[in-house]
Structures are given as C-alpha cells and as structure tokens.
Symmetry: C2
C-alpha cells in the first residue's frame, strides 16, 4: 500500500484500532447506522441555518412525509442532537434547534458534502461507462 495520503493512512489506522472485529455492536457502527439514516443528516443540515418549526422544516424538505419527519426528529432528540421547545400559544407552535452536540457534527459532515459536490460528476461518469459496458 501505496498511494494514499498520510492523512488517509492515519484514519485507516484509527479505524482498524477502533473497530475490533467489526461486529454489529461496535459503538462506531452504531453511530454510523444513525448517520446512514435516510433523513437524519438532511434534517441536521436544515436546522444548521437556525431553529425552525415543524411545518417550516416540511416546506424546506419537500419530499419527506409527515410521519418520517416526526419520527426522525424524535430520534434526533433522543440522541441529544436536537432539542424541542413547545410554545404554549394557540395554535401551539414547536421549535426545533440543534444542540451543541448536534451542531458539532456539521463540520465532519461538511467534509463529506464537500467531497460529494466535488466528485458526483466522476461518479456519474463511472456509472455511464459501467452501464454502457454492461449493455454491450
């Protein structure tokens, strides 16, 4: 091995040190499963620009169902990533905002988003080529 950057090597080492046997109950796997959730990170990024109310989030993320929005917000609250504040007005309003923990994931997640926007064109190209060869 090879042509990887030193930074990458470092992460690989840490990974190997932290995961042990990669069995399902390794704590990092647990967090990764959360991150893999279809909507979690999208909601975190939506709340990153400020606290928002339920239907306001819904409008900003058009293709989430109300059920999934409720459920994902509750999960994020359970994990201490989002706090929920109810205002006793009528009609009642509920505001969601990132906790410090929730806000702290923005940076590492931002790296991934940066990677995605830099490389999605490469992925598209690779996919076209792959599908072209499969058809031939």
């Amino acid at each position: 091995m090879r042509t990887l950057s030193e930074e990458a090597e470092l992460y690989i080492e840490r990974w190997n040190a932290s995961v042990g046997d990669l069995s399902g109950d390794c704590p990092v796997r647990g967090v990764l499963d959360k991150i893999s959730d279809k909507w979690s990170m999208l909601l975190v990024m939506t709340l990153a620009s400020g606290p928002k109310r339920f239907n306001q989030i819904r409008r900003e993320v058009p293709d989430i169902s109300q059920k999934m929005l409720t459920q994902t917000l509750r999960d994020l609250q359970r994990d201490g990533m989002v706090s929920r504040q109810v205002f006793d007005t009528k009609p009642p309003s509920v505001e969601y905002r990132l906790t410090p923990l929730g806000a702290s994931i923005i940076v590492p997640f931002g790296h991934l988003i940066a990677w995605a926007s830099e490389n999605h064109s490469h992925i598209d190209e690779a996919r076209l080529e792959f599908d072209g060869q499969a058809a031939a």
Copy 2:
C-alpha cells in the same frame, strides 16, 4: 444561532448554496444516498487497508450476507469506487481494491468516524436520559 464555529458557518453557507430546493434530484442528495447505504462505507473502510478477496471481506465483516456483499461491491464498482480483478487460477480468485476515487473518500469519512468515536458516549447518555424520562 450562534455559537457555531466559523468552519461550521462556512459549510452551512456552502450547503445552502449547493442544494437549491433540496428536491430529490439534487446531485449532493444522490451521493448522500449512496453513503447512507448500510454497507457501502463499511466495505470502503475494509478495503482501505489493502485489496482483498471476496471471502476475505466476508470474514472481516461477519454480519453481511453473501447477497448483500455481492450487490454492494457491484454498486461500488459501478460508481467507480472499487475495481474488480479476476485471476484465472483454479479455483478462481477475485480481488477488489479501491480506485483513486474510492480512496479519496477515506479522509472525509475519517472525520465522521473520528466524530463518532469521540461522541458516541454523549449519544448513549442522551439516549438513557430520554428513555428514562419517557418511562416516568
């Protein structure tokens, strides 16, 4: 808002600039969906430490089924993240390795893993507290 770091602010800005209306066909969403795949990132990290053969990967990731391993490897190959090399021995052997594109995701993904190992204890605590209050 406001106790976020400047780096976080930068990512939030970029996010807002890049996603437009967050509709399902935004390219960043597309890449994020791939990353959200249950096994993709696990396999990338497994291959990060060097090229490996099919059953070797299976042994290192004990709880993936053969079907999902085949399928995920093919998807990664399609996306240009992994290359597949067949050796014409008997019995035949097949080696998978990261492409430069696949290797390039290790660094941003490493940031997320670092966050996970630093914060999973906070998440566990938050979860215990939340569940305790729910029971009360």
